[in-house]
Amino acid sequence: MSLIHTLARLEAVESGRAQPLAMVRHRHLAARPLVFVPLTTAGEAGAPLGALVGSDRERPRLLVVPQPRDRDLRFAFLADLAEEVLPYVDSFAEDTEPAEQSKTDPETGKRVKVEVELCADAPQLIVPSRAGVDFVRLLGRSMRFRRTAEQDPDTPYPAPARVPLLGRWLTHFAERARVPGSTLIAAMTELLARHWATGQSSLEDQHLGALLAWIDPPGGDAGAEAARRAETARDAGGQLLCPPAGPATDPAFDNKLLAPAIERYDRARTALAAADDGPSADHRLAELTAAEREIGALVESRTRPTWDAVWHGLDLLNDLPEGERAAERWTRDRWSYTGHRDRVLAGEPPQPRRDDAVTAANKLAARETAQARLEAQEALDDPLVMAARRLSGEAFAGEVTEVVMAYSESKRPSPRPLVTLRTDDGPHLAERAKVYRSLAGKPQSAQFVGYDEEGGVVLRIMDKMGRGKEPDEGSVPEKGDQVTWTLFEHAPRGGPSLPEPEDTPWTHGGPPGTGAEAPDPVTSEDTL
């Protein structure tokens, strides 16, 4: 945690209000996000209980599994979910713009530019918390290897038609969530915690209700008091007034409300199955429907407050102006979406259960680059973030006090002006350290030469001054200019290219096996 972050937390405690950690919004928010508030069944990994889903805040679609252990009902839920999610995801597939991508030419082996399609926008999934992202991953994993009757007529428990496809998309979303700065899927608690510091611990910040209570306390209460109420206040029946954002539910809800309701549903179902004549069947069907409706109402009562909280959070975030470089990161999300769209269209098999050695290394390298890029871009977009970097000695700002023209010692001398900067910051400048500043959005680099007698930092500008003997207009800071230099690169380069998976070397086990993976085998737990 940076010094600024610590200070903001202390100020939040003192003032009773969350303090801003950012002056701009560092994550792109879609104009039409799909909000997904899932609930899971206690004690049954990956057994959804219900969800609110939709991109219209007034009209969420409620999906419920009245008996979460029943695989047919679970499949029905997943099929309904696919009906909501897939049309939304597909709605971005058609609208494309031309773009260039560099690819290796298979014949010459050279990198060449290829004209490709890039989707003009991409879907954005918003879940309440990090646990929601994990649940999306789990759902994706549970679905993508399922086989439909069409794919495999012999499969004993065929999945509804679009369920495996939904599994592939949810897997893609969840995997993309691991890329720093990406917002193809975003957890509301993380979005909010990135932009505001509360007076509670980061663990407590994972409670969406408590987090919002600090940022926007109802009725102007003190944040700590409002947060405590959000976490612990219960009604006369012992139920939390602000239910947890899920997917896990409150045990008091499970025990006192949900379990009896499910039991009534089970009884009604058994009774209906045993009904032997028309009129009694009608009556029992009505009972079953009532029991089902009751569970639906219970699920809605736990998800609706979270649904509203997520939209409330979106409102708060949308009030912040978007950071300049967030769009560039969103473009990468659009590439990611376009790429997966193409893989699905090309009929490629679902994502494998485990990455092979080359894929894993490529992903790690891409994410490390993304992390470094994100940190640099946030600092460049936001003086408050830059202040934290300055305090930690990774950047410095100051006024130019002197500019002396100098030239490189080569046959064609190029300008290498010496710029002296007066700064109150304490950068950790090593000998001949490279520093960077943003010049019209492009990084200009300089080399640290030393300190002058008065402690001013002397830098030698190295590039972006044009080809001539005299530097281009405006490419060298002038006396009196305020300039911010960073010790970190502005556009970190990616790592080297790795071998193709089929060329995996002996040190890493050689090439992986080929072919699509088999679907998950059916176990006894699948047929409870």
Binding site: R354, D355, A357, A360, L364, Q371, G495, T507, H508
Partner: protein, 454 residues
């Protein structure tokens, strides 16, 4: 095991460190030159002559007519290897592959007649030995694979870095110190934990997971660590692969020309001169990372170390050698701590002393080290601060003495914070864990404790 167990030193037959080390080296070179396996792994404790081994192996392979590529981790390591090779065998044609950045290599290389430098591997084809960093090698493609490679500091190399270069060679000798800091990733990599090729794991763990039958050797003697330090470092950090020091208790000494003034820094210096270890203990307190009192105490110790006219005697020379600033290092856990110590030293007009983090002190050697304990003044013990390798690096850089500056109460802090890292299936558990190693070092240091209220 008994003759290799340093604790029984003296009870058994006399231990001849040179002969032991020579035997180990001979076995390594035999496996490398004549063995069947595609790889040979060598574990080397701190200061056990790893660089010498690499240079010797390179010369032997070159003499056997096998084109050799050498992979090191940093440019400094690469330049150091080139210089050592040229010193041992000035006529050997060596290629230094380097990046196209400004000042890509040590200027001293320009004076070497048989060292060719280039940014392109193709320019260096045909030379007996080509040396570069893993990062640079990773960009080499379209060349004939080398018949042999030496991978230096292989335990500090990440698995994905090895993946990028392993296609360039047919067989390789992997050399490294398993006790030092593990490589790390700046983003989470839990999703691959337990996979044999986890890209964030060390190159050696991936290599051995896929090739468990590769011959593994270890160097048995530390030439750097004095007799006072080798048993502790060996017990605390290498409990299953013990080593011993190449020198005996009487072989080295540290003395001062100026008598003690009775202050804390002087008393801890005397303790360290006599026993090889000193713990300057400040009163218990929770402090910011750059604890001003502790930082000033570190600077004061260094200042007194220089002022008191230290002199060292070792097997290298019969006469006492003055202890100069360039033979002293200060080690910290964080970069801001190092910066604070540098500032404090500058205030006391000390220059020329190396001040750096454990990561950057890896592989370096000094006569005396002053260490700001990673857990000093902390309210918690995180995985970062407990990492075994961090303490191991800090406690194993010295030839004569190591002085640790810390707040009291670290033992209680450790007891309050047992390791709580989640257990990952399929991941080889590393022994000892940092918690245990910290306790071992701390209990030894407590015997050399000098309490001080600055």
């Amino acid at each position: 095991m008994s003759s290799a167990d340093p604790r029984t030193h003296g009870a058994d037959a006399p231990f001849d460190p040179s002969a032991e080390a020579a035997r180990a080296t001979a076995a390594i070179l035999h496996d490398t030159l004549h063995g069947e396996a595609r790889g040979v792994v060598v574990d080397s404790p701190p200061g056990a002559g790893k660089s010498t081994l690499v240079v010797n192996a390179a010369r032997e392979l070159a003499a056997a007519g096998r084109p050799l590529m050498v992979v090191a981790q940093t440019n400094a390591q690469v330049d150091d290897l080139v210089l050592r090779l040229a010193e041992k065998e000035p006529d050997l044609p060596v290629g230094r592959l380097h990046s196209s950045d400004a000042d890509p290599y040590d200027k001293a290389l320009d004076d070497l007649e048989h060292v060719r430098k280039s940014t392109k591997a193709s320019d260096l084809a045909g030379l007996d030995v080509v040396i570069s960093t893993a990062a640079k090698w990773a960009h080499v493609s379209g060349v004939e694979p080398w018949r042999h490679a030496i991978v230096d500091e292989a335990y500090q190399m990440r698995s994905d870095a090895l993946l990028a270069v392993a296609g360039l060679f047919e067989r390789a000798l992997f050399v490294g110190d398993p006790g030092q800091l593990d490589p790390f990733a700046i983003v989470g990599s839990e999703q691959w934990a337990g996979l044999s090729y986890d890209p964030s794991a060390s190159a050696v763990s991936t290599l051995l997971a896929h090739n468990p039958s590769l011959p593994q050797h270890r160097l048995p003697v530390s030439w750097r660590l004095p007799a006072s330090a080798a048993p502790l470092v060996s017990d605390a950090f290498y409990p299953y692969t013990r080593f011993r020091s190449g020198t005996g208790h009487g072989d080295r000494s540290l003395s001062f020309g100026v008598p003690s003034d009775g202050g804390g820094p002087d008393r801890v210096l005397d303790e360290a001169a006599a026993s090889g270890w000193g713990l300057l203990e400040l009163p218990a307190r929770h402090t910011p990372r750059t604890d001003p009192e502790a930082v000033r105490a570190v600077a004061a110790v260094v200042r007194r170390l220089l002022d008191r006219g230290g002199a060292t005697v070792s097997e290298r020379s019969p006469d006492p050698v003055p202890l100069t600033a360039d033979r002293i290092a200060v080690g910290t856990a964080h970069r801001d701590q190092a910066a604070a110590v540098r500032a404090a030293l500058a205030e006391l007009a000390v220059s020329g002393v190396t001040v750096d983090t454990a990561n950057r002190l890896q592989g370096r050697e000094y006569d005396v080290t002053v260490v700001l304990h990673p857990l000093s003044g902390r309210p918690d013990a995180t995985a970062f601060h407990l990492e075994t390798g961090r303490l191991c690096v800090l406690a194993s850089r010295h030839r004569h003495a190591c002085i640790v500056v810390a707040r009291a109460g670290i033992a209680d802090l450790l007891d309050d914070h047992p390791s709580t890292e989640p257990v990952q299936l399929g991941v080889t558990v590393k022994f000892p864990d940092g918690w245990e190693a910290n306790h071992a070092v701390l209990s030894h240091l407590s015997e050399h404790r000098v309490p001080w209220q600055p």
